[in-house]
Symmetry: C2
Subunit: 357 residues, 2 copies
């Protein structure tokens, strides 16, 4: 991510070094340094309107790390996840021998009826920006999810809020965490995505009772992030750099999205395709009316040295009836290569476009 | 750890920053940066006489993190650990619902007969410097352990080599890893202990077949250490700073150990106590002939505001017949407070000393 403000980061690192804080030499508390947890707590209040105490936050080296601790914390009951969805979550559960189920989504997100029937005790959702579809879960579905959680004592919603700031139209909805009145939402987010992937810092917010259980049963696991990087990030957040960076990112990605959509608009592809869910994140869906199977599309793309992600690749259920839907991830495409990429796409679907005529 | 060469570390950090290596912005490979794995591989060859390819090394944020991945990798069969021993290992296994057994040690380390009878598929040992006894496992016992591993196809020895460089008398024995001819040893070490606890970098060396299994089943877990700290540590090792630091540490701790032993020698405590296993690490045992139970000793110490670690606290088995043995950990005691600490100890055992007269 070339947008990473490396010089600011370096400046803050030098400051941390020169201040020679005694924190830098001490063992880090299992949940992370207070100054960073405080900075995150303030940030969440300011930017997301969330009431989070620093004592509810656990800092960890990446969300996968935190998901793995969280699944241990929640114990043996099955966890549910969206289908299609974030596949690693299932892999993490598998690696911990924790049962999981996949629940189909519709245009508003996870289907709460199917969730209730699944018998799961917790569910992983990304309401702000569903991957890979880009669907934003409306308020009503969020409320239904909370109702599902309230039906039983130990039901939890794991809310993955990554990239929520990247919303290009409409207001950013309040988090499910902020709507919750019964301490049933675990909130997750990461700086590896919004800053730079080589910095491994994520965090989770636990409701007080779960935090107490974590302290009792899992706090023997030492914190996985060095105090040096925690101090640097704390400065980065509390001095306002994160907000500025996030705003720049939003402009940058919106601009890139507009360029990709404009290039598609100029191509003949749009005679057989339409764009969906393009108002959040760094990806959207391109639904193509094609005679080819997804396997054939993928092969044709590879012949042309293009790696295509198809929505069908993200499903758990074997029969989902989705084909011809491409996940266009524009996060890492170079702006001057957009036209070329669109023209390659056009060639892949040449036969479909010609047949249409 | 005040011996940490903070100014060298800061200098290397600044170098890494100013070099602006593209590595710093890229996603870190799951097993860590090649330059760091190469530096560790060279270091192990030079200092420990070990043949380790960089491709066998996995970098992780702390040994607890790596142990937790390793236990997942080894699958469901029971793991054995030393009794007394590193209690966190049992806690990690518990948190992953993996069965574990404790095996008594004798003066040479873990008892291989009891190990063979336990049915465990892997065993955790710290042969270079057993915690908390300080016992060094002799060659013969190491060979017996390897024989145990070779008896079945999937038996592994987990060799924890932390603090192995802190040996004040006699030669440092080769690692079990170096003696192994059938790829049955997993080697673990950490920089958090030898450098500074706030830097969370450890590593494990896997035999090729296990590494291949890790890549296949667990490599979806992203690396937990930021590339910036990996680059800094790689420089620290390859430019020879680690060896110099370790040598200074050795002199520093040997000197401190000598001071503690000299202070004990001047006290009347030695009329009823003897010192054992004081040639490695940062701790030794003080065996006291006392009429008090360990509970009484601990209470008496607390009355005098002294926190005492007793060997009995490290046992898993309830009946181990050990009492009156104090674990003297001199790592963090200030040199000018040694005499005072010894005099407090003397007061705790006043009644025993007087009775002796």
């Amino acid at each position: 991510m070339s947008r990473f403000p490396a010089s600011v980061w370096a400046k803050l690192m030098r400051q941390v070094l020169s201040e020679q804080s005694p924190e830098l030499l001490k063992t880090v508390p299992y949940n992370g340094l207070f100054i960073l947890r405080k900075a995150i707590s303030d940030y969440l209040r300011r930017v997301r309107g969330m009431q989070v105490k620093p004592s509810q936050i656990i800092i960890g080296a990446g969300t996968e790390y935190l998901y793995s601790r969280l699944l241990q914390l929640l114990g043996g009951s099955a966890v549910a996840m969206e289908d299609p969805g974030y596949k690693k979550f299932g892999a993490i559960a598998d690696s911990l021998k924790i049962p999981w189920v996949h629940i189909p989504i519709d245009g508003k997100g996870i289907q709460t009826k199917a969730l209730a029937e699944s018998g799961a005790g917790a569910v992983h959702v990304s309401p702000a920006n569903h991957f890979p579809t880009g669907i934003v879960m409306p308020r009503q579905r969020r409320r239904e999810l909370l109702e599902w959680a309230y039906e039983e004592r130990e039901r939890y919603i794991i809310e993955d809020d990554y990239d929520s700031e990247l919303r290009y139209r409409g207001k950013i909805l309040p988090t499910i965490y902020a709507m919750d009145r019964q301490q049933r939402v675990i909130y997750m987010n990461t700086f590896s995505k919004s800053l730079v992937p080589s910095i491994r810092i994520s965090y989770m917010v636990l409701p007080d009772p779960l935090m107490e259980r974590y302290r009792r049963t899992l706090s023997f696991y030492s914190c996985t992030v060095s105090s040096f990087e925690q101090c640097t990030l704390a400065k980065f957040i509390s001095e306002g750099y994160l907000e500025r960076h996030v705003n720049r990112q939003k402009t940058y990605y919106k601009d890139k999205r507009d360029k990709v959509i404009a290039a598609l608009g100029r191509s003949r592809l749009m005679e057989i395709a339409r764009i969906c869910e393009h108002h959040t994140g760094t990806h959207f869906l391109l639904k193509v009316r094609t005679a080819m199977s997804d396997e054939e599309i993928r092969e044709k793309a590879e012949e042309k040295d293009m790696h295509l992600e198809l929505l069908s690749g993200y499903f758990h259920a074997p029969e989902h009836g989705t084909s011809g839907t491409i996940v266009i991830n524009y996060a890492s495409i170079e702006p001057d290569k957009i036209d070329q990429a669109v023209s390659t796409l056009e060639k892949i679907f040449e036969a479909d476009i010609e047949k249409k005529d």
